[in-house]
Symmetry: C2
Subunit: 346 residues, 2 copies
Amino acid sequence: MIFQELLGAELPVIQAPMAGVQGSALAVAVSNAGGLGSLPAAMLGMDALRKELAALRSQTSKPFNVNFFCHVPPEPDVTREDAWRAALAPYYAEYGIDAGDTPPGSARVPFAREAADLLAESQPPVVSFHFGLPSPELMEEIRRWGGRILSSATTVAEAVWLERHGVDGVIAQGLEAGGHRGSFLSEDLDSQMGTFALVPQIVQAVRVPVLAAGGIADARGVAAAMRLGAAGVQIGTAYLLCPEATTSPVHRAALKSALTRRTALTNLFTGRPARGILNRIMKELGPMNPAVPEFPLAASAMAPLRARAESFGSGDFSPLWAGQNSTGCREIPAAELTRDLARFTG
Amino acid sequence: MIFQELLGAELPVIQAPMAGVQGSALAVAVSNAGGLGSLPAAMLGMDALRKELAALRSQTSKPFNVNFFCHVPPEPDVTREDAWRAALAPYYAEYGIDAGDTPPGSARVPFAREAADLLAESQPPVVSFHFGLPSPELMEEIRRWGGRILSSATTVAEAVWLERHGVDGVIAQGLEAGGHRGSFLSEDLDSQMGTFALVPQIVQAVRVPVLAAGGIADARGVAAAMRLGAAGVQIGTAYLLCPEATTSPVHRAALKSALTRRTALTNLFTGRPARGILNRIMKELGPMNPAVPEFPLAASAMAPLRARAESFGSGDFSPLWAGQNSTGCREIPAAELTRDLARFTG
């Protein structure tokens, strides 16, 4: 009931925002089914964000979530970027790519005034953040229309910090989770806990509702997470094969293979640790590599390799984001999956 | 019910065998309370094992478990051991220890004929293994008196291997677990999953009962693990403060402090990755260090440092084994803890 009161959705399932593999279509399907659909805005320009928000508003009357990153953009570091391109040079050569062609910078921008103004027009009921929180002023904007604010914690210390800074709920992101670790107080991967250890400790440490994320793949997982004290769950990986997701063909193929049994945290694709299926570039240069440019600058150097390899049907250079439990991935409509996930708890 | 039928204990809780921090006293208390107490035999000589088995037989009529390692002992590598002692030299100097005084080798021996003969006398109802399984001939000895055989899996592949080699149940050891990873097919730490991801995948992959381990600290955790499909659980960390455990004063102090929030897998103490509370030597030389002698040979070089530091009340060089969730550690009798852990599921 806490989940429903807080976030307005009927079923205690948040579809995790997954930048790059979904847009409003997945969010709409989940929200209309009674879960909380999420629009990942981290890689959207303002025009695209406006369109996606309009699509959500016109296609569902149910609550939905819009997610932003709020990292501090790094100073560009040409030396480091050049060194990283040099490390990738053999791969560029293999694919006949001119390293000079790779654009610098990254499409990922943190939440800022312009996006907040756009949000104010469509007033999403829930706004979630990754990598901390935006300024108190920007949070105040969201509160003005009654928007609920969530953010991810990967440690107990981060959960306590988020509560102090006014979130309405904490997403406890266990180490099993796919995609980017939401860490913002520490870069120490040793401090990252599995869901089974993290959720109860965060539940004990904060008073706001806790949403469990990481390794939850089916209705039993949802029930188990709630048994640990979570008010609900956030699930990403299980949605990756839904027709409404824009998951690429190489990513879909990997998710349907036994490769899902070996995932790792890697910083090769963006500069921050994120969990994906182990592929060639992760094996050969990583999965973690200290020479990688800072988040999100690392992304541009890999982009042309990824594009070229994918055009040949290869995921060798693609971020094949996935959590440690892909057993819930099914090629069924997101609405059906959502209802199924909540069947013991809805 | 599967747990009870398989292992004979009333409550679906196995007290994890923890070599170095407990003997028969803890096992007796847990078994008499209705759980499955475990005697860790990995560091016991044959005389000590005989005595401990006699103590168990005389103090409980309930089922109990005896645990052995079954690693393949490495060839001694003098060059490597010397190099490692050289790496530790500054610490030896700090404590005025003569490096020549540290005995080579290790007290940890794998399960073999002699121990099997001893077991045959006391016929423990359950025998569990870490690091794989002993030879089919030795397993046959255990079956002769109806002993049930368990072993730990840290990946789906290991669980399938164990089932094929005839175990009666698989302990799914999530990454959260304290002490040694039970890995035996792969040394790749990236393949190690959190409990939330591992348990359901192993449950799906094998037909024998699965016991969940890692991050389970209280009755809600036990219930959650069983919701994921486990037949029962194996819990270690929560027992470390019980009066029946022989946990050292520095270890107890660390477990009662906020230090428990930072654990890591380290190979510094034995040569194999094991989870413990982050301490000085782990920070300064690890937590993982590729120069460490092979398991279990690494133990001897650290032993004198540990002894000396502990005599000054310092745990800087001690293996402070603990899982990622120490919230269940309480200074109460093990019987009370066992009944409490099973209060939603017993």
